[in-house]
Amino acid sequence: MLSPFKRRIHCNIGKKLFSTCYPEIDVEYYCHRQNLSEIKHNIEIRKGVGDINRVHELYEKFKSLSMGDSMYENIKENFYSELVKLPNITHPDVRDYKEHPRTINTINLKKDFGSYKPLEFSEITQLLNLMRTDKLGYTCDNKSYYYFGELAEYEEALLKYTVSYLLKKGFNLVSVPDVLSRNIIQSCGMAVNGDRTQIYSLDPVLHGADLHLSGTAEMSLAGMLSNTQHDSKKLPLKFVSVSRCYRAETSNTIEERGTYRVHQFTKAEMFVVSKQEDSDDTLEYIRKTQEELFSPLGIHMRVLDMPPHELGAPAFRKYDIEAWMPGRNNYGEISSCSNCTDYQARRLNIKYMDGITTKHVHTLNGTACAVPRMLISLVETHQHPKGKILIPEILQPFINGKKYIGKNVAVPKLKLLKIKN
């Protein structure tokens, strides 16, 4: 799959420090006086980081110096470090959305439970003895969870269903490493700075500097493609990965209780590389793929076109899919897909030959199945008052033909040991 790629090693990232080689940011656009107010406005509506005035200031200083000047490298470095902080530009359709997302589609109706009051995922799994989350801070970490019995089987079934569907659609399966260097994570638009961060790291003294746990397979896949050049006839490249995702972020809000926001989870992720002119359509293709995957599961969903301030730094446009979680009585985000245009490609040096010119590819990503929230939505939607969880027909072949999940009696309940002194 990767053999046709011609490697373009601008600089050997492994051997030199990242700071000594610079990403090919569109300096002409960002540093042109004429674009100043547009860029300022863009940063403002995205509520993003980045200081365009500072970028221009450093640019003027940098331009005035000659290569031999003692300050040259120093200023250049400062200039680029400010430049890479700037967010992507925003899709014109989205620019005026202000604060709120626009609902562009709804799928399936909310399930009518009649007089039955639907229970929450944590209550159902407690009643049916399918999950443990209590008293794990002492041995694992806070927010840890164990699925067992048919709930663990359900996780496997979801992954089988998702991957086999995407393989049929021509996606290429890749198994990715979960430990990445800072450069790759930052190039994907995630900040890794100092101690308070969303990223877990390995102890730098014990294991070597700059090793971090991947937050999503998007980072590993983008990293795999760094410093590559592709033939335009081979595009788009479509990848799917099943990986473990690690997120250090914490939250104590009541909306995010239970296994809604966790530190570790399994996720199937799509990653697509397209030609520049195709990325808008490709984003629609990924969104449709998600809708095709999720619709047969019978959960009620709404598809949202996200406003500028929800795009983070890399996305040009982003759709979220929120599923209805009847027990929680709320919508919850179960997936999203983004068009990052050339934001990641410029930082990671991913290009294609278009006739005789080389261009930066556009990268896109989308969640195919993030297990914990998908399970919350499925279990809460398909709970049966008689104490079982129905399994959507399309998933049944992947869980040995089971039509529902009942109470698990094979795994004994635990009792905490009381130590007498």
């Binding site: 996780e155 399966l173 390995l202």
Partner: protein
């Protein structure tokens, strides 16, 4: 036993530490005895309404002893900790089947491949493997290699479920106490990956987070630490599909045989006693044979010699395939008898007639996917995904 293991464990050190601890403890007991004796005499005196010098003398003596006991406390604690930590490092007892010198092959399927192949060369030719540069030994598996990874896990999972093994989906982190309780040095960066301490709590080398993986033994022990179950539920038969993270040296050559991150199928069995544990081992070995015979590659099972097993193991059965590039057998899976070594250290108990007992444990990675893949790529035949791993075979009819 220590000689057979060729362990450098120092029994004299333990004896000495234990002696110091015992002496201090006896001293404290002596003092406590004299204290209670004096207190008794004092109260007798007080009952007789005696006053004056005699009472004063007693009070001073008692205070003196109290002071002595107080002063003994801290050295006693240090001595206790030193002796206990040393005692916890005593290796597990050896099982009678563990050979003294050489591994003992107990089963073999077919004969080793004869053509010399290197999985890295095949992997590169067929575009299946891409190593990550300049980090710990990590890899991307592409196309059929990635399908092989998922497919093999699902194949094992399906068979285990049909054999009434219960599937678990575990967390990937454990705290230091679990690593230590498994008989592994929790401060040793070559044993487990230790996460950077970046929250607001005070740094403590004994309370770190370790990245060990959902497919590791640790996560099953973390589940049961400090917990009680009823004896009547035993034996327990669990398994998980997940990652295993193990540090490897950076200097080593890139190879599927020494990766820092692997996908794995991990078995965890809990039995009432040694007899039940051995029955469980027999049963699992039977399953292992069925699973691997079906795949029809050459493999063998052997008991590993005493000097090559971990301190926490009493017996290790190794599942090996032949690497033609390295001209040696590679362990692609294993099963370990642990007995009550870990349950005692981590206070995992069961109740039997209202009595608390320590259950006996066996565990093992019955499939390490990248090592298995490496050996499969070095077979005589051209690489192709076994039919039972193929995506067409993922959907199944009712059991």
């Amino acid at each position: 036993m220590i000689i057979k293991r060729k362990s450098n464990y120092d029994l004299h050190k333990l004896e000495n530490l234990w002696e110091v601890y015992n002496d201090l403890r006896n001293l404290k007991l002596q003092q406590e005895n004299s204290k209670s004796k004096l207190s008794k005499e004092l109260s007798e005196l007080l009952k007789l309404k005696n006053e004056g010098n005699e009472v004063e003398k007693f009070k001073i003596q008692i205070n003196l002893i109290k002071e002595n006991i107080k002063n003994l406390k801290s050295p006693l604690w240090s001595a206790e900790e030193a002796a206990m930590v040393e005692a916890l490092n005593v290796p597990n007892l050896l099982h009678k089947l563990t050979p003294d010198q050489e591994n003992n092959v107990i089963f073999q399927h077919k004969s080793p491949p004869s053509t010399k192949k290197d999985h890295n060369v095949v992997g590169k030719q067929k575009n299946l493997i891409k190593y990550v540069q300049n980090t710990h030994n990590l890899v991307y598996l592409l196309g059929d290699a990635a399908l092989f990874e998922l497919g093999s896990k699902f194949y094992f999972s399906d068979y285990l479920k049909r054999s009434n093994y219960i599937q678990f989906s575990n967390p990937d982190f454990v705290k230091s106490l679990v690593v230590e309780g498994c008989g592994v040095d929790h401060t040793d960066p070559t044993s487990t990956f230790i996460l950077h301490h970046n929250d607001d709590t005070v740094f403590n080398k004994d309370k770190r987070l370790h990245l060990t993986g959902a497919g590791s033994l640790y996560s099953f022990l973390a589940y049961h630490t400090k917990n009680v179950i009823y004896g009547k539920v035993l034996p327990l038969k669990y398994f998980s599909l997940g990652r295993q993270y193990t540090p490897t040296g950076k200097e080593e050559n890139h190879s599927l045989f020494n990766l820092s991150q692997s996908s794995a199928v991990q078995i965890f069995g809990v039995a009432r006693d040694n007899n039940e544990l051995e029955e469980l081992l027999e049963e699992i070995l039977c399953m292992v044979k069925t699973l691997f015979n079906e795949l029809d590659y050459h493999y063998r099972l052997s008991y590993v010699a005493a000097d090559k097993i971990h301190v926490w193991e009493s017996l290790r059965v190794s599942i090996e395939m032949y690497s033609t590039s390295l001209k040696k057998y590679i362990e692609i899976g294993h099963l370990s008898l642990i007995g009550d070594f870990m349950s005692k250290r981590l206070l995992f108990t069961y109740t039997d007639n209202k009595e608390a007992k320590f259950p006996h444990i066996l565990s093992g990675t019955i499939l390490n996917v990248p090592k298995f893949l490496g050996c499969v790529l070095e077979q005589d035949e051209e690489f192709s995904i076994p039919d039972v791993f193929r995506v067409e075979n993922w959907p199944k009819k009712a059991m």
